[in-house]
Symmetry: C2
Subunit: 214 residues, 2 copies
DNA sequence: CGAAAGTCTTGACGACTGTCAAGATTTCTC
DNA sequence: GAGAAATCTTGACAGTCGTCAAGACTTTCG
């Protein structure tokens, strides 16, 4: 009985191939989006045939969820270097802004796909789990950035993590829409914006910030 | 030659029916989203048959664009009453927060659809025009709110319109995701958040805000 | 009333979708 | 190298989709 179950030879070979298929799929997914990326189109832009998907994945849904989770998992990790490598608040904010702008310009299609999946999760229950998981990763990432920034600047975050993330996400998404529409000047604007915004996200004296709800 | 061209009898009858069809379509569109709402499903949830769509609209795309533009056009207008009816900054911010929360709870499906269309506009060029148009409406709306708030409070907006909109939109979208997932407590949190956030969006003294990019 | 214009329903079309089974091909093991 | 296991290809399946044409029904108007 062939299939994904009962792996005998080094199961890593299987996982490796699985990952390779997912990486190929990401190209088409990022280009066409969740709804319009068919398995045949995904296979055409890769070295696989359209039938092999069901050898490595149960169905299209499992493939896409795997792809997005894998891609976003690596994306979130990239910011840890910024935190670890910054000794001053100025360094940290510059590193953060640069990374944001860099990934926005480089991985445009991947970010499009993420927002697509998150939006579809409002219509499809099956996507809700992975969307909430990744949203959590991103919120934690923003929180780590702002927390460390506050620490270096001798203050504390002025807003709860969910609010910080919502603001950064709103700005990033608007910039992504701009880049997707060909307005590449938004890249520089986003960098300037982050430089100006981060100081307002912490409290260094008695100035009150946005109170936490509930 | 029957068809949308060459209207003789009161053309308003035609427009009226067109609008009625669009309003019915919004039900299904809001429930299933842009991609999964088929013309047959749209017709099933209405008094029309699936073929009549091409009598009033050239194709599915034109129907959806018409639906979303019509819906959002009315949605944006609702905030003007808040501006006109508020005599103090506190009244304005309370009215704004209440309207946001109210429409979030009442028109959940419509907001889902809007974010869906805007996200799809990053993949489909044909959607870009209407998405940018509506984004402009919303940005103007937020700008009018904050401007009037600043005026009443004796200050000026601390950030450019695009940034104000991106922040409000980020918070609203995060709340929408929460409501769609059944976490209705985010409604109250959003209200509290807006109350705390609006004062930070204007400058009443020499405190500098976020500088405008470019 | 009756003809013409407007409105709508029905059914069909080709294209596309995810899925899967049958078998070809490759890789591994003894 | 033979046989077995793993991997992959191919082709077909049942469904769904947007579109449209043919004609039925309704309204308008002389």
């Amino acid at each position: 009985m062939p299939g994904p179950a009962a792996r005998k030879p080094p199961a890593e070979k299987y996982d490796e191939r699985r990952r390779a298929l997912a990486e190929s799929a990401l190209i088409t997914l990022g280009e066409l989006g969740y709804a319009k990326a068919s398995l045949r189109e995904i296979a055409n832009n890769s070295d696989f045939s359209h039938g092999v998907v069901h050898y490595y994945f149960q169905d299209k849904h499992e493939l896409i969820v795997f792809c997005v989770r894998e891609q976003k998992s690596g994306c979130v990790r990239r910011y840890d270097d910024v935190i670890a490598g910054s000794a001053t608040p100025e360094e940290l904010v510059a590193g953060f802004a640069d990374k944001l702008v860099e990934t926005l310009a480089t991985d445009t299609a991947m970010h499009r796909l993420w927002y697509d999946v998150r939006t579809q999760s409002m219509f499809e229950e099956r996507l809700r789990e992975v969307a909430e998981e990744i949203d959590g990763w991103l919120e934690d990432m923003v929180w780590r950035i702002v927390s460390r920034y506050a620490e270096l600047a001798g203050g504390v975050p002025a807003m709860p993590a969910s609010v910080l993330y919502a603001i950064v996400d709103g700005l990033f998404q608007q910039a992504l829409i701009g880049v997707s529409a060909g307005r590449h000047e938004v890249l520089g604007e986003l960098r300037t914006l982050v430089h100006g915004l981060l100081p307002t996200m912490i409290t260094t004296d008695v100035t009150p910030g946005v109170p936490t709800p509930a």
